[in-house]
């Protein structure tokens, strides 16, 4: 079985209100120079068929209309 990690995040240009909320909270903690915060999710999995990972991402793990994904094999 191959191990893989898939990183999914909102596409560039789509408002990410979670990222914005984190960005706005940071100055109160003294982090004044942080911008472009984007929040996504990570899916870790094991598969016997790593060739089909992209298809799996397109069909279920990500919604390609609104999300980008990156596959990292471990």
């Amino acid at each position: 079985m191959a191990r893989a990690r898939v990183l999914i995040r909102p596409k560039e240009g789509i408002l990410d209100p979670q990222g914005k909320a984190v960005e706005r909270a940071l100055p109160a903690l003294g982090f004044d120079d942080v911008e472009h915060v984007r929040i996504g999710r990570i899916v870790e999995l094991e598969t016997a068929d790593p060739q089909r990972l992209s298809e799996l991402c397109e069909k279920l793990l990500a919604n390609p209309l609104i999300e980008d994904y990156e596959i990292e094999t471990l």
């Binding site: 909102p10 789509i14 408002l15 209100p17 979670q18 909320a21 279920l60 793990l61 919604n63 209309l65 609104i66």
Partner: protein, 208 residues
Amino acid sequence: MIWGVIQFPGSCDERDALHACSLTGEARLIWHEERSLDGIDAVVVPGGFSYGDYLRAGAIARFSPAIESVAEFAARGGPVLGICNGFQVLCESRLLPGALLLNQNLRFVCRQVELLDGDERLSIPVKHGEGRYWAPGEVLDEIEAAGQVAYRYAPGDNPNGSARDIAGVANEAGNVLGLMPHPEHAVDPLTGSTDGLKVFERVAGALV
């Protein structure tokens, strides 16, 4: 006419949907594992949190046996109404254009809104955390030009940051309709408005 209301694990509005449907015809519940839509004239995909809304709202429900049958039913021209989570399911299924994202202010919103159906105003409640309609700009242009924007929030009453105040959209053929507001909760004067009936009548009208 006979309505079929799909019920998933995690649905929560199927009973109100059944009641609303029963005011314009006969209504039956269809469990998500059923494939048969025999005898059904129109389908409602109701609100709630199908399969816990895991991964993305509607993402898992899309692969349920009942929704696969609904997709075939829709392809044959059968009328389908998706409400709230049902709208999310229909977008995830690509039966409707666009997607529903987290509300812009990150808050769950639960209140009455004013909807515009052309010049007509409808008073119908919303209750959702992920109702911000989004599609690429060129898709928004296309669906506006094709008359697929079925409902808009009245100016100043957009509760979630939806693009161009869009509250509900139809497919190109016009037989599949999805909206975030809950017409099934607005069918009795006791709850303040009966405007929701007009949405069910619109879908029923797609039959004729």
